[in-house]
Symmetry: C2
């Protein structure tokens, strides 16, 4: 059973029974495959008697969305598991605990979070998360700072860069986020009703220049160990708890890519409120809540990151050079805004969409949400070298809905 | 003999005799250790009868300059050998041929270039190298372009980043170039007569900000596979031939660090002409030759790099986005100017100096050369985010000698 093959539910149960000290001896376990992703099997294993449960995530050697035609290395299971362990040390409580990692089976056994809801779904249900800004800003400030040249030994960081070289999953991002949406690619997928807006992306030279610059940062800027796919579908939440999951896209990249992913997905929900809020008042209120959450998250992130730097900075010159912290945080804000824009645009015209928009049943509302998202996304991308305040992101969102 | 130990000359001869087909069977070989570097043994092995010869370079597990107290991994011999092989494919004729690499002994056997002169010495002798700009611009354009995300498969590039992670040699650069000169470090070493100028570096906030930004690029910007130590002491030259040697500092970094290293060392010689040229006329002429060489090298580099991009570019968006090439080349120019400045400053006040300046016998001339170099270096560093033309580097040099 230790040679790689996709596990059956029965095999998953047997592995769970062998984890020492977790389930009571002789427990009768139930197993359900609950994966809705494209790249993995996810087994939920429960013991009805003790009430204990766990999750097993097994990497598949191909992307399910395109059948077996898109092969993917199983090394991403190692990357996910190692990244989860690093996060577990830096932000315990904000990620699932890892119980076991089996490299032969590309299998990670971890904490069951099924009392949480995927945050994307929660936001579609109108749930508010009053602690989210605090939690996610802590997650980002600590994971990004302590894996960067500002916060860890700079020679060990280089070895960590090496351990998290992740060519195949980076290629998915490079293609689907930083290339396809800006040309007539066969990978693209969009509502025929917005073809004019999609085509406008293909001919917008100003936009192409900014996306090329952001793409270059993604390709070359080994600033910190990123989650790499930090959207609201990678966050399990309750109003009281936030757990970040699924770091298989982890690699050393620009910090703004993680922060931008969070903001992009809040803004996609913002655009989707065309439908999800019942009436105009509720819609305006939930939208304001989303924008407030972005501003709050940025300010808390900025404050926590600077505090870590001031207290734990390891780079003498970076700490001594007057103005450097200001320069660094402004560039990080600009990267955040630019990457947020790219992550919005790809969810409207690229291969992979989000439920916040696609599940809007009414054609007119869905189309208006898509156009709104594209207006916000392109506007953010064009501010990625000039923005000086998070308020500019808010302005872009407000200006789009007022059109 | 295959377990690592520093070789004796007799052992080096035995290894040379075993290289199949190189020396005639039974040849009586002579061997001389000619290393003048700090990190390696270099054996020159000759057969007086056939006239054939070769070089053996063996990495030492410590830096000689500080005795055995500064341990260094022997992995740098692998890095040097693999980088030489990549260069041999991209710019044959501009690097020594590699005959053999022995990983156990950290030993690279390569072409003997002793008909060439170390360019630093050549420039001190007043030699002009009319083909140098052509050769070195070809070397840099091809080695940098074809190892970057512009010119090679972007997933293979990531594996190459991994293979050239080089923490220990990068640390030498990070400390000696991007930290020590800007603080009262025990590693610094400078002429007591210029203490005022050294101290000015320690308190210049504007300078510290720019150096911190350049240091960050060195730490995080995996743009291309650099030589990493491309000064005129790493270049063997004759008026007709140029051979770049010693790439043990190779790693993925910002392209401008290599280009800047070449310009910095031409400018250090420029400053040293206080002494090396016999009279004021000869001095002015040789200085003009050095500045012309810099301008010529930049223009040829810029032209060749763009031509490679236009013909062999692999990144769709980087090629399609109007204005991106301009943006890229301007940033590369700015990096070049900034890194050139850093590499000049460290040779005046840091641990490791250059003969162009230190061997000036006359105290007053040496001091004037040192002050000149510092004036040029700091001026370049301060232009590293604003320069738009190589002419600004020339202006900085001319303005320094006219003071």
């Amino acid at each position: 059973m230790s040679t790689y093959h996709p596990l059956s539910e029965q095999e998953a149960i047997r592995i769970a029974q062998d984890i020492e000290g977790f389930f009571p001896p002789g427990a009768s376990l139930a197993c359900r495959e609950i994966g809705d992703g494209n790249l993995n099997l996810v087994f939920h294993i429960t013991d009805g008697v003790s009430g204990k449960s766990l999750i097993m995530k097994q990497a598949l050697p191909y992307a399910k969305v395109v059948g077996e035609s898109w092969p993917l290395t199983l090394d991403r299971a190692r990357i996910e598991s190692e990244k989860l362990l690093i996060e577990g040390k830096l932000v315990p409580g904000l990620v699932p605990a890892v119980y076991q990692y089996n490299p032969e089976l590309a299998l990670t056994v971890m904490e069951d979070l099924s009392d949480h809801v995927i945050m994307r779904q929660g936001l579609m249900n109108g749930t508010r998360y009053p602690l989210f800004a605090d939690h996610i800003s802590t997650f980002m400030a600590r994971t990004l700072f302590f894996t960067s040249d500002l916060g860890m030994n700079q020679q060990e960081k280089k070895l960590q860069v090496k351990a998290f070289i992740n060519p195949e999953l980076c290629k998915i991002t490079e293609d689907l986020i930083f290339d396809d949406p800006y040309t007539d690619s066969p990978n693209n997928s969009f509502n025929p009703a917005i073809r004019d807006a999609a085509e406008a992306l293909w001919t917008d030279g100003e936009l192409h220049l900014e996306v090329a610059i952001l793409r270059d940062k993604f390709l070359t800027n080994a600033q910190a160990l990123l989650h790499g796919d930090l959207h609201t579908g990678s966050i399990f939440a309750t109003p009281a708890s936030t757990k970040v999951i699924d770091p298989e896209f982890a690699f050393y990249g620009p910090m703004g890519f993680d922060v931008g992913a969070v903001f992009a997905n809040l803004l996609l929900n913002f655009a989707g409120q065309e439908h999800w809020s019942g009436d105009a008042n509720a819609r305006a209120e939930f939208r304001q809540y989303l924008l407030d959450t972005i501003v709050d998250t940025w300010h808390q992130f900025d404050e926590k990151f600077r505090a870590l730097w001031n207290e734990h900075g390891v780079d003498r010159l970076a700490s001594a050079a007057a103005g450097y912290q200001e320069f660094y945080m402004r560039r990080l804000l600009q990267d955040t805004i630019g990457f947020a824009g790219c992550k919005i645009v790809r969810r409207i015209v690229g291969l992979s969409h989000v439920a916040d928009i696609d599940r809007i049943p009414d054609d007119a509302s869905r189309e208006r949400a898509q156009r709104l998202a594209l207006a916000i996304g392109t506007s953010l991308i064009k501010r990625s070298r000039t923005a000086v305040s998070i308020q500019e992101l808010i302005d872009a969102a407000k200006s789009a809905i007022s059109q």
